[in-house]
């Protein structure tokens, strides 16, 4: 067990900042470090780092999930990893002009649900490299992968496939 040196308590370290005296309101912070495990979904995230987009195929009923899960919702059997097609279409989209605090600096950004031919479910991603005004349902898209993986789902995004 590590003993914290005195005065390292993050709550004690920061100076009190008073926002109001009546009612008494203080500025306060709350930070947590996690050891986040992807557990049974690990191969998906390692796949992204190798430029592979992996879905899950049920070993029993053959249901094909674009967003992975290790067990089938339809029949309860285990799934296997299977590469998703390298082309897809936009099932639906939105252009976000506001967002959660963490993503405000990235606005406007385009969210899409991606549909793959022959796959039963969809995949949520970002669409980049496009004028937001031009985005349409049915637009053909393809995945792109981060050169420097962050080992998050943002290691993959989609771009329009040039027409003609």
């Amino acid at each position: 067990m590590n003993e914290s040196p005195e005065g390292s308590d993050p709550l004690a370290q920061h100076r009190v900042e008073i926002l109001s005296m009546d009612p008494l309101i203080l500025r306060d912070r709350y930070e947590i470090e996690y050891r986040h495990s992807y557990a049974q979904d690990t191969p998906f995230f390692l796949g992204l780092s190798k430029g592979e987009l992996l879905g899950s195929r049920c070993t029993q009923c053959r249901y094909f999930y674009a967003t992975p899960r290790r067990h089938c919702m339809e029949c309860g059997h285990a799934t296997t990893w299977e590469r998703l097609p390298t082309t897809a279409r936009i099932h639906t989209f939105t252009v976000c002009y506001y967002g959660s605090e963490r993503f405000l600096k990235e606005t406007p950004y385009v969210l899409i649900l991606v549909e793959f031919e022959g796959v039963n479910t969809l995949f949520l991603s970002r669409l980049k490299g496009v004028d937001p005004e031009q985005v349409r349902i049915g637009m053909p898209v393809r995945p792109r992968f981060a050169k420097e993986p962050t080992y998050t789902v943002t290691d993959v995004w989609f771009e329009p496939i040039e027409q003609g």
């Binding site: 309101i25 979904d41 099932h91 639906t92 252009v95 976000c96 967002g99 959660s100 405000l104 969210l111």
Partner: protein, 428 residues
């Protein structure tokens, strides 16, 4: 199961912020209001309580419901906390119903609250977005308005729903709230003003989405024995239903519609369901509640509805889930005027105005959405409607539905992951 009655309720004013009150005091105000309405109920007749609040992040206090329990003087009676995202309040009400129906309690308090003002609006949106898959959804740009925007884009694509139809919902609910002193954001709006408001996530503008709020609500439920002793006009809870769907919208299947008693499979020969345009969990909740209440055709057998309009689009989607019209007809349903209040001027042409009012209170869009309180607030407004007591509690009778017999309340979480439907009936 034995009959369960809603015998009293109270709501605080919903507001952007109540910095002078913590969650305990907000609930206490709503609780005392509810007790004053039925003075014959003494504290010793209350057997226990169920508390509801959505987010430990917003509250910054784990086990906050225990602090409400002691503040209300209800220790050492039974208590627990219910959490189910946006449906927290609806689930809490149903949990209290279960306590009475099972015979475990004779009288149970359902209380709910949320204090959302203690962080900025965009941090608050982040907390809410953490109620989406934090491995696969949140990191992409987690934002609930974005999720609902994607759903309605598909609804528009499938069914031809328009942004003007969505704006009509905003006009309706904000104008209704002009007569509800508990509402946070009452105002007269036009379709043009809704569309010209700042765009949040296409096609939803600031006037298509509800705001964050501080507030609390309390319901008191009882058995027939207690209800008949302490309450002149108890309201009978005749149907409860709930449903669920996958946490990730991306995982929703495309199959057959869950049919209600007044529908046929041929109504939906080509529709792939639910996809992301409809809420299968809402349909399941309605189906179960209608079955328990003996409702064959909700279009003819309901007097009013208070539903979870976190977005104008989700009100339109919910008309369909509840079977008020067929899937795909939610847009034309609002244009018909059916879900508007009679006797209020909305500045719109509404051929069938007021046949089945939806969100007479102003709904979440105009009342606000202090998550843990919201589903209970709907129950309180439904109680007052069915008691014919809107004027007594709101100070004016503009929102009183004429001779209401049966009301429906609907509470909804996530992108449709938990949904409750509860049917309440006036006792004649």
């Amino acid at each position: 199961m034995r009959p369960v009655y809603l015998i009293s309720g109270g709501v605080t004013k919903f507001a952007k912020a109540h910095p002078e009150k913590d969650f305990r005091l907000m609930v206490k105000e709503a609780y005392d209001y509810a007790l004053r309405d039925i003075p014959a109920l003494t504290p010793d007749m209350i057997d226990g309580a169920v508390g509801s609040y959505f987010s430990d992040h917003f509250t910054r206090q784990l086990k906050a419901a225990s602090m409400v329990q002691d503040y209300l003087g209800l220790c050492p009676k039974p208590s627990k906390r219910i959490e189910g995202g946006g449906a927290t309040g609806g689930l809490c009400l149903q949990s209290a119903w279960e306590a009475i129906a099972s015979g475990r309690m004779e009288c149970c308090v359902a209380f709910g609250f949320e204090t959302m003002s203690r962080v900025s609006t965009w941090k608050g949106n982040e907390f809410i977005a953490l109620a989406s898959d934090t491995n696969f959804d949140f990191p992409i740009g987690g934002f609930y308005t974005g999720y609902y925007a994607m759903m309605v884009q598909r609804h528009m694509y499938e069914f031809g729903t328009t942004v003007e139809q969505m704006a009509m919902v905003s006009v309706k609910n904000h104008i209704n709230a002009l007569y509800n002193p508990y509402a946070q954001k009452a105002k007269r709006l036009t379709i043009e003003q809704v569309r010209q408001a700042p765009m949040v996530a296409t096609p939803l503008t600031m006037e298509d989405i509800c705001t964050m709020s501080d507030g609390a609500a309390v319901c008191i439920l009882a058995s027939e024995r207690i209800a008949s002793r302490v309450c002149d006009r108890p309201v009978h809870i005749t149907g409860v239903g709930s449903g669920s769907d996958t946490m990730r919208m991306a995982d929703r299947p495309h199959g057959k519609v869950l049919l209600l008693p007044h529908e046929q499979e041929s109504d939906y020969a080509t529709l792939r369901y639910p996809g992301v345009h409809s809420f299968r969990g809402g349909r399941m909740a309605a189906k179960l509640a209608y079955h328990m209440a003996g409702i064959q055709d909700p279009r003819e057998e309901l007097s009013f509805i208070e539903l979870h309009d976190a977005y104008t689009s989700s009100e339109i989607q919910t008309y369909e889930d509840l079977g008020l019209c067929k899937y795909g007809e939610g847009g034309s349903f609002v244009e018909s005027g059916i879900p508007f209040m009679p006797g209020i001027d909305y500045g719109l042409s509404l051929p069938q105005q007021g046949r089945l009012p939806v969100n007479p209170s102003g709904g979440l869009l105009a009342c606000g959405h202090p998550v843990g309180a919201t589903g209970l607030m709907q129950a309180v407004f439904a109680l007052w409607q069915l008691q014919g007591a809107i004027e007594k509690h709101l100070g004016n009778g503009m929102l009183q539905v004429s001779r209401p017999r049966r009301g429906l309340i609907h509470s909804h979480a996530g992108t449709g992951t938990y949904i409750t439907v509860t049917i309440l009936e006036a006792v004649t």
